[in-house]
Subunit: 190 residues, 2 copies
DNA sequence: GTCTATAAATAGATAGAC
DNA sequence: GTCTATCTATTTATAGAC
């Protein structure tokens, strides 16, 4: 695989990633990706056989990004409570994108739930990654039902994202992220 | 407007309502609605000028349905706490649909956030209706920041719906609906 | 009011020149 | 590896017969 080929492939993935977030999977056409990247439509099929393949590559790319962010978070501190608070900050740093287009993970998984069960399963892998990482930190805090609590954290962030996006209310998002941090701080007292 | 015409129009709205939930707005074509209702595609334009008009009619129809449910809930009891608990039960009765396709309100509003700001504003009206009704009950309980708390209830239900749908986990939905009721019961002690 | 036929645009996907 | 041209199917929407 040549350097330029890998570059083109990566450019397609990154453009598709952004478009899947801002316009949705089904509303993103090959023409859209072509316009953004400058790569002709027909060339896409050299790198991906189908549109579904692009989605799979985008999810794999997201998994890699989140794994790197979580690893960096683990290297920064050994305190699981601090790690959980950093986790909230990571997603908080994407606040503007959430207000405009919703959570990239949640909105993609929700969209694909209506479409193709296989694609939804693929997009859910990002949830799996975050859930397992959160559960690991909760385990270190000595909490029980760590997986369920991890899902509760994700559910809370998803719900806040939905409302904040629906009302384009950045203050609502900020306030609830802070309350979520307080909730997480309360975990240590159990 | 004749009887049969109104009937056809209503049949289109109800079929579109279900399809917008199970497949999404953008993934629902006139052909899909035609297949379900048996009404030819071309006939749709006698009742609606555009697909957007169908969405508007669907949202208006949903608003009417929810208004009737909330009114019935108000007639059933004067206790605002009981009304809030009944509210959770109403959405809980649609559990199977939430598992399969997500919350009809949340998923539609999220989808349209990526598409057309005007359509999102229209679909958000259902959130507005529920928010205001919840806030009214919270006011009766003597709570402050009733609108913010109402949004918190909606956010919590949305988040739980996203996770329950992603993992097709009916038990998770049920457990969190019960916890939400406990949370609401806690409101009276403030 | 109801339906058929069809327009005009766009989708995902393919073939093949270079 | 890269790009143009094109195929086939489907989309929203229109025209017009009945």
């Amino acid at each position: 695989m040549g350097t330029k080929g890998a570059s083109n492939r990566q450019r397609i993935i990154e453009a598709a990633d952004r478009l899947f977030h801002t316009r949705g999977y089904n509303q993103t056409s090959f023409s859209d990706i072509s316009e953004v990247t400058g790569i002709p439509r027909g060339n896409f099929y050299y790198y991906f056989r189908t549109k579904d393949d692009i989605l799979n590559a985008v999810v794999e790319d997201r998994l890699g990004s989140y794994r790197r962010m979580l690893s960096a978070c683990e290297r920064a501190t050994d305190d699981p409570r601090q790690r959980l608070l950093s986790f909230v900050d990571i997603l908080d740093s994407n606040a503007e994108g959430i207000i405009q287009s919703g959570c990239p993970i949640g909105s993609l998984t929700s969209e694909l739930a209506k479409d193709d069960p296989e694609l939804q399963l693929k997009s859910r892998e990002v949830f799996d990654l975050l859930r397992d990482w959160l559960a690991k930190q909760l385990d270190m805090l000595g909490l029980e039902n760590s997986t369920q609590r991890a899902l509760d954290i994700l559910a809370r962030m998803q719900g806040v994202s939905i409302i904040a996006c629906a009302y384009k209310d950045r203050a609502y998002l900020q306030r609830n992220m802070d309350e979520l941090k307080g909730w997480i701080n309360g975990f240590t007292m159990n």
